[in-house]
Amino acid sequence: MFALYKKEVKSYFLSPFAYVVSALFLMVFSLFFINGISTMNSNVLKFSFSNIFYNNFFYFIFMIPLLTMRTFAEERKSHTETLWLSAPISLAKVVLAKYFAVVTVYLMMLLLTLFFPLVAYWHGSVVLTTMLCGYLGFFLWGMVCIAVGVMISALTDNPIIAAVLGEGAMILIIFLDNFTKSALIQSMPPVARVFEWFSTQRRFGVFSQGLFSLADLVFFLSLSAVVLSWTIIIIEKRRWSRG
């Protein structure tokens, strides 16, 4: 499993792909950072990272399908999946290895953004709890999105389609809250409640306020786990019906 994980992480850096995506991500992040500082009100001498995270996520979430689109679709297209299908490794391990490889790349990008709190610390002070919880929330939210992206990649043999479908799914994830708040859904309380179960923005909000909520941590992790198990089922199912 480790061999596959290592290969997957490496493959991101063998092409300029990971560099381009991280560069774009960092650019967006720094723009928000600068913007956040320049619009700071003189009587509110507080500057919150959660704001940056919030805004960033709206952009970053659309980069996640770009990271995940190739995971399974590409292998199916180039017929390389026979390599791990015929190797003594279980499908669950394959899915996990690929998933954690994307998570690792994502984590690397997040670590790069630590530059900004460092700069902020240099010239002022940083509320450590808010920042750490903000990072944790951002990371957990990303994990769910990556799991969804990986699952969508397993559905098709075309990475472009995987990316497009992934973007759709990301929109759904991020706007589920706003959608739930609409009058139509609110008029049907049972439906609204079901939607609320899956709302992620609210849970991220908890983290971004500098609070650590075990329930929300479990929510993010278990949601990722469920989506990954669907991925396993999807691949298994496809093996049965493959032509």
């Binding site: 596959l4 092409s15 017929h79 026979t82 390599l83 299908l85 015929s86 190797a87």
Partner: protein, 373 residues
């Protein structure tokens, strides 16, 4: 030992492999023969566990692929039809990765990878990107991957496709070399390959087994149709007539244009004794026999016989059938018409489609078949 038991695979309602069973003994090289789309790759995918079977199972060394896939996969090295290589990786890195995937212990990894590269002669390209390699090299990298983890069984799906003739011979030697300590099942539709390296063959067509036997036995089973090949100088119709009228000649299988006035005839005869009267008759008819050879039924013939359900129709037969059909259609049409407008004086003439397509002696198409009707 690999035991394949009643293996069946349906894609939807279409059976790709239908109830096939055979066993492969240890240290055997088994050729898996069949035309394209016969179900070779599907079977191999099922043996290696890449594809689940609809019913039936595969036992490898007593381990069931459905119940104990890990043990089975540990014992099998698989080279699929398209080598599963990542174009963005370097050859050596790729093989290291494959070794890791096959759970080769870390300290043995280096040696195994180097051995495999040595065997496939890819040591000199180890630092190159797989995407930049030619198809032949890519195939060899895929082959090297199958050898990692020193599996007892090697399953090779068309290992020589896309290789140049020297490489094909190299691969054949490699298979013979590997047969010393591996059991090999390899599929192909190139018959020369099978004759060169296998003891036993399985012939499969449309998902069903046609024969499982040694090459010698299969060849012997189609014996009985002795064929003579004659190169005769003379007018084609006269020669054909003379050959047909000789006693002991069953039929003329094929007539092939050779050069001006010279044609090669493949003649099915009852026994070797027909040679003499045939020669005499031809000479008497003032035709020069330039060459005469006996054609032995080969594996090739057995293959054709076993994989084509009905006798091949010759072109004349096809035309004849077509002509008859058209004629029947026209007749039906005419009777209909005459029944409908019996008072109409002008009968429809001018047939648009002539019975039996006109055979023009095209310069590019010299090969034509003639059958005795």
């Amino acid at each position: 030992m690999v035991e394949i038991k009643n293996l069946t695979k349906y894609y939807g309602s279409h059976p790709a492999v239908l109830d096939i069973s055979f066993t492969v003994a240890d240290h055997e090289v088994l050729g898996f023969l069949g035309p394209n789309g016969a179900g070779k790759s599907t079977t191999m995918n099922m043996i290696t566990g890449c594809l689940p079977s609809t019913s039936g199972t595969v036992l490898v060394d007593g381990y069931d692929i459905t119940k104990n896939p890990m043990e089975v996969k540990r014992r099998i090295g698989y080279l699929p039809e398209l080598p599963p290589v990542y174009p963005e990786m370097r050859v050596r890195d790729y093989l290291n990765f494959a070794a890791g995937l096959k759970q080769v212990p870390r300290r043995e990894r280096k040696k195994q990878v180097e051995d495999a590269m040595e065997r496939l002669r890819i040591t000199d390209v180890q630092k190159r990107l797989i995407g930049n390699l030619s198809k032949g090299y890519r195939q060899r990298v895929g082959f090297a991957q199958a050898l990692l983890g020193s599996p007892k069984f090697l399953i090779l799906d068309e290992p020589t496709v896309g290789l140049d003739p020297t490489q094909v011979i190299e691969v054949r030697h490699l298979i013979q070399d590997l047969a010393r300590d591996h059991t090999i099942i390899f599929s192909t539709h190139i018959l020369a390959e099978v004759t060169a390296v296998c003891e036993r063959v399985v012939i499969i067509n449309k998902g069903q087994i046609r024969a499982v036997d040694t090459i010698a036995n299969i060849e012997a089973s189609v014996q009985g149709s002795l064929k003579l090949r004659l190169k005769v100088e003379g007018e084609i119709t006269k020669v054909t007539e003379t050959i047909r009228n000789t006693a002991g000649v069953q039929e003329i299988d094929e007539v092939e244009y050779d050069s001006v006035g010279v044609n090669s005839f493949t003649v099915k005869v009852e026994s070797d004794d027909v040679r003499k009267p045939l020669m005499a008759a031809l000479l008497a008819a003032d035709c020069m026999v330039l060459e005469i050879t006996t054609e032995k039924p080969s594996l090739e013939e057995a293959f054709v016989k076993l994989t084509s359900p009905t006798r091949k129709q010759t072109r004349d037969e096809v035309f004849e059938e077509l002509g008859k059909k058209l004629e029947a259609e026209r007749e039906a049409e005419e009777t209909e018409k005459s029944a409908a407008e019996s008072e109409a004086p002008e009968p429809e003439s001018a047939p648009e489609a002539e019975p039996g397509a006109p055979e023009k002696p095209l310069p590019g198409k010299k090969k034509h078949k003639g059958g005795k009707r």
